[in-house]
């Protein structure tokens, strides 16, 4: 297993091609925290051709709705939410330049197809460890949709946020690469036939 260091926004998109499902990635730089409600609004704005309050080209999104920051802290607990709920909105965002997504759980076929076409990667951060992950967030600022409360759009500065490559630019998927003994693939989620050989 390799360890890669990635800084966002991406300067060299070719870097993503080196990532393979199962590799470890440490993310530093700027990442947008956005989940269900923000995705819905951004998707709608893009469809209508309106301006959106964030950049997408070469950027990353962390699917998280953090806890409020206690006194003296930058942010409260902030682990990943289930990414699958963002699937209906994601292909359009990838088309508009989104390169890195951080969340937990598998993605659907449409998302993986868009990732392969546009060279995006999907990373998994450890689920249910929000206190642990909050240590890697150095700055957090609400930049849009404050009315959404904990779902508002947040710009974060992260330092070495620990993730694993869940689905790489070739569509290889870590959630499909094991069986009862951890060697082959499981019978569930069989749609991605490409992963069988791994």
């Amino acid at each position: 297993m390799k360890i890669h260091k990635i800084t966002l926004p991406l300067e060299d998109e070719c870097q993503l091609a080196e990532l393979e499902a199962g590799d470890q990635v440490l993310i530093s730089g700027t990442i947008y925290a956005a989940r269900d409600a923000v995705h819905k609004r951004i998707f709608r704005a893009l469809e209508l051709g309106e301006k959106i309050p964030m950049e997408l080209a070469g950027q990353g999104i962390y699917y998280v709705g953090p806890c409020p920051a206690p006194p003296g802290k930058v942010i409260g607990s902030a682990g990943p939410t289930t990414s699958g709920r963002m699937d209906p909105y994601t292909p359009l965002l990838i088309e508009k330049g989104l390169k890195i997504m951080v969340g937990k759980g598998d993605r659907n076929q449409m998302v993986v197809a868009a990732m392969k076409r546009h060279g995006a990667v999907y990373l998994a951060a450890p689920g249910g460890a929000g206190a642990y992950l909050s240590q890697y967030i150095k700055k957090a600022e609400i930049i849009a949709y404050p009315d959404l409360g904990p779902e508002a759009l947040v710009k974060m500065e992260v330092e070495a946020l620990p993730c694993l490559v869940a689905i790489d630019t070739r569509g290889h998927n870590v959630y499909h690469q094991y069986d009862k003994k951890g060697t082959e693939k499981l019978e569930v989620n069989v749609w991605n036939s490409e992963t069988t050989a791994d």
Partner: protein, 280 residues
């Protein structure tokens, strides 16, 4: 009659919520530590170690274990010789939730309406059940349930002819479908019998039982063991990335049912299974 002031109830609920959001239940922590020894891959062991580290950090820094501080379920068992005084019981329970989520800097995760979806801002209302039981005490079961695992839970109205094999098949289907989404290693609550809503309640109730306490009926205890064994042979593993610990435990609760019915509910919890039981 023994009088219990509702203010004591809200304070007890507030304290319990501050505790369970920031510290793993002892039985869960023990099960996670045990699972570290059984996993074969570095990736699975590392993830389980992060769960332990997260617990230590959350407790030390008073941070919630997970940013999804959940929807609160409160199950009140009120002794029939208890008189509740000093105000509205439901309001007191919700006050306990409101105060805890403000003081703990926990995320408010409740929207006022399932369609319009505007956040209530204080994580209320909780889901409150009331049971009247013999005695002079008030028992309160409290659970904080995140949506990642709740969303993967299911109820199915099986036919009686499906029998035990039908129950096992359904439970396995639900776990496979949950995959990585419900934050494995899971705790699995199974409710069998009653009707549609009773089965779901039993499944949730099952999650309260400690993992080191098997069902009192030998047959059910064996079924819990068998299901756990089968689930852990799926290979889903910690974080859904492969391993031998897909679940930390399976707890079953049953209830009499109709001659024509066999409802089965599977309530999945993530590896935190934040719950407690207090007595006033």
């Amino acid at each position: 009659m023994r009088a219990i002031h509702v203010q004591d109830i809200y304070k007890a609920i507030e304290q319990a919520l501050l505790d369970i959001n920031t510290r793993l239940p002892p039985d869960i922590l023990a099960a996670v530590k045990h699972a570290i020894k059984k996993e074969n891959t570095e990736r699975a062991r590392k993830f389980l170690q992060i769960i332990v580290e997260n617990d230590e950090l959350a407790h030390r820094e008073k941070l919630p274990l997970c940013q999804d501080t959940g929807m609160v379920m409160v199950n009140l068992e009120i002794g029939q010789e208890v008189s509740l005084v000093g105000g509205d019981l439901t309001a007191a329970v919700n006050r306990g939730i409101r105060e805890a989520y403000k003081k703990g800097y926990f995320r408010p995760s409740i929207v006022h309406d399932p369609i319009e979806r505007i956040n209530t801002g204080d994580n209320t209302p909780g889901i409150i059940y009331v049971n009247i039981v013999p005695g002079k005490q008030l028992h309160i079961e409290i659970m904080v349930k995140g949506a990642g695992s709740e969303n993967m839970s299911q109820v199915r109205m099986l036919q009686p002819s499906a029998g035990l094999p039908g129950i096992k098949t359904f439970v396995m289907e639900v776990i496979k479908e949950a995959g990585a989404n419900a934050c494995p290693p899971l705790v699995v609550g199974v409710g069998i019998g009653g009707n549609l809503d009773k089965a779901a309640f039993l499944a949730k109730k099952a999650l309260f039982r400690r993992l080191d306490q098997p069902h009192l009926q030998v047959g059910m205890a064996l079924l819990e063991q068998e299901l756990l064994c089968q689930i852990n042979q799926l290979g889903i593993g910690p974080q859904g990335m492969g391993g031998v610990t897909t679940a930390l435990g399976v707890n079953i609760e049953t209830f009499p049912t109709h001659i024509a019915s066999m409802p089965v509910a599977v309530n999945i919890s993530c590896h935190l299974n934040r719950r407690t039981r207090i007595t006033i």
